[in-house]
């Protein structure tokens, strides 16, 4: 029972889309990532035109992150104050990113830039997380594990405009979270993702937030940044396919709930290893695409508006 998507003008199997949404939703609930970095390439594979995949992917991320963030709100694992600071940076960054995207489009290198961004960022973050979480896992196995200090003084703690983030137990300058939000916003707009896979490690390693509030807070910020992105895409390029989004969402929200429940039962170190491996796998696939000789050297790009 294939169905016709009104905006994408493509015929697809709805069950494939629901399943796809489900898998990505699971990731979302489990790791606090929006899942955009998975959904966008997967939509390419089933023949959805790239601009529509990016815009609709953002819309699907809204649903799965709302679903995930509500579950975290219940468990009081969202730092709203930190989330708002990150969001301010994120919205500015998203707007900047759209400008960069337009410039890249004009010089015809958007595909390459997006792919390179994916490879570089996924690779770096994946390796960093894997190394960190393996070390953490080793530490936790030792009998007399040296206890990590609750509050480490790093360079970011000497900056001005300090603010209390009670839920995170932090008293730091607002500048680092603003910058993290901004950077994630820029990348989110260029790569068509929520940016969770960048933000989660940045919150842990750069801001020093406790792992238990990181995922909820990340989802909180992602919800609003992707909502903003969806709206911008809908207004300026008419590339949001609500029918496609709905099918992805159907699977996604259910997956997100299962993921959140599962996440509460698993240990943080194991979760981080899983996420690191996943990030590295996606990175490896994209890197191969860049290096291996493609099946067809030619490519048709339509819909140049």
């Amino acid at each position: 029972m294939p169905i016709y998507l009104p905006i994408a003008e493509v015929v697809v199997n709805p069950f494939t889309l629901v399943a796809l949404g489900g898998i990505v939703g699971l990731m979302s609930g489990l790791f606090g990532v929006g899942g955009g970095f998975l959904i966008t390439p997967l939509l390419f594979f089933i023949g959805i035109p790239p601009p529509i995949a990016v815009a609709t992917g953002a819309n699907q991320v809204v649903a799965s992150s709302v679903s995930g963030v509500l579950a975290h709100v219940k468990r009081k694992t969202v730092d709203f104050r930190m989330g708002l600071v990150l969001l301010v940076g994120g919205l500015v960054g998203s707007w900047l990113g759209v400008m960069v995207f337009n410039i890249l489009q004009r010089i015809g290198q958007v595909d390459l830039a997006v792919q390179l961004c994916y490879v570089v960022f996924l690779g770096l973050i994946g390796l960093m997380m894997l190394q960190e979480s393996l070390r953490a896992l080793r530490r936790s196995r030792q009998v007399s594990a040296p206890r990590r200090r609750l509050h480490e003084h790093m360079w970011v703690h000497r900056w001005p405009l300090k603010m209390k983030f009670r839920s995170s137990g932090l008293y730091i300058s607002v500048i680092p979270p603003l910058l993290v939000g901004l950077a994630v916003g820029v990348l989110a707009a260029i790569m068509g993702v929520g940016g969770g896979f960048i933000m989660v490690p940045a919150m842990i390693y750069l801001l020093g937030m406790p792992t238990k509030v990181v995922i909820g807070t990340s989802l909180f910020q992602i919800t609003f940044v992707t909502a903003f992105t969806t709206l911008m895409h809908a207004v300026s390029y008419n590339t949001v396919d609500v029918m496609l989004a709905l099918l992805l969402i159907l699977g996604g929200v259910v997956g997100a709930q299962i993921g959140t429940t599962l996440g509460a039962k698993l240990r943080a170190e194991q979760l981080r290893i899983l996420l690191a491996l996943l990030v590295l796998a996606v990175c490896g696939k994209l890197a191969l695409d860049l290096f291996l000789t493609p099946d067809d050297l030619y490519m048709i790009a339509t819909g140049v508006r």
């Binding site: 819309n59 992150s65 679903s67 995930g68 290198q109 809908a234 159907l250 929200v253 030619y298 490519m299």
Partner: protein, 313 residues
């Protein structure tokens, strides 16, 4: 609990706003903008008919050659096509899965059947044209990137040619060029300055890729012709059809020359929910965007609530 209440209220307000604006949009009926857009679309379609284009457009595969204006000898033709289509409109609905169009007809003539050469029939169906870019990847510093491109001003989104026999045997090249019958000639024009030395591999790749995806089709020998008078052709329209005004052409040929042409439009339109969403997305993009967000938020919130209740109950 109290901390997330404002968010919940905000989300509910967003959803409510979207629903209200939606309802208002639906009740308002066609707006001046909508009518203007409709008129624009119609005039675009009129301009897009192949024989009313400016003559100085460069052509594939010979970009330098000006286009011939074809005088149609309508009154003189000794043999004329009388044809019909099984349907002159295709409706795209949610479960649209492609469509078959039966094109049938007869040859009307006052004089006996000429004995010199057998009659041949070619049927073409052409979808609306779009601009596109063909990229060629090249290996630079170890990675494959889009290096060279050819931009084509207008290439049909769908083009099917059905014939009574091998195209190169029943159609002379100069007549092909006049009426642009074969697939390579369906490409209208290059857009902007041509940046590569040889465009042929690019246009060949375009045709190859589009043939692979079923958007361009050459079905030689698929038109059945009985007694040099009755003919029928079955054209398959693919599932991933683009909305627009499709054009059917039926050519009668003798000795490789076109003796008569018959043209008929096929209207491919989205209907029902498909049409409503499409119009909303293009005419009211902001409301459409809000609606998409409302769908996402309601689904996310709904799932979260449902799961909470499930766990409790």
């Amino acid at each position: 609990m109290a901390r997330w209440k404002p968010i919940a209220i905000g989300m509910a307000a967003l959803a409510l706003l979207a629903v209200v604006t939606l309802a208002a949009a639906q009740m308002a009926g066609p707006t001046p903008e909508e009518q203007a857009a409709e008129a624009r679309a119609q005039s675009d379609a009129a301009r897009a008919t192949p024989d009313s284009e400016p003559a100085d457009f460069p052509l594939y595969p010979d970009p330098g050659r000006p286009r011939e204006v074809v005088p149609e000898n309508e009154a003189e033709a000794p043999e004329k096509v009388v044809a019909g289509l099984s349907s002159d409109a295709v409706s795209i609905t949610t479960n649209f899965d492609g469509s078959d169009i039966l094109i049938y007809g007869a040859v009307k003539r006052e004089t006996p059947i000429p004995k010199n050469a057998p009659l041949q029939v070619i049927v073409t169906v052409e979808g609306p044209a779009q601009p596109l870019t063909v990229w060629r990847k090249e290996r630079k510093v170890g990675i494959w990137i889009n290096a060279e491109r050819v931009r084509i001003g207008a290439a049909p989104g769908f083009y099917a040619v059905a014939t009574t026999g091998p195209l190169n045997q029943i159609l002379l090249p100069e007549w092909d060029e006049r009426f642009r019958i074969s697939i390579p000639l369906a490409m209208r024009a290059f857009a902007g300055p041509v940046e590569v030395s040889d465009t042929v591999p690019f246009t060949q790749a375009l045709i190859r890729l589009r043939e692979q995806s079923g958007l361009y089709r050459l079905d030689q020998g698929s038109v059945t012709l009985t007694e040099e008078t009755l003919f029928r052709a079955n054209i398959q329209l693919p599932a991933n059809l683009i909305e627009g005004d499709y054009k059917t052409r039926i050519f009668l040929l003798r000795d490789g020359q076109v003796v008569d042409v018959y043209r008929a439009p096929i209207e491919v339109r989205k209907v029902g929910l498909e049409r409503w969403l499409y119009r909303l997305a293009f005419d009211w993009p902001f409301i459409y965007g809000l609606m998409s967000l409302a769908v996402a938020v309601i689904a996310g919130w709904g799932a979260s609530t449902a799961f909470r209740l499930l766990r409790r109950g």
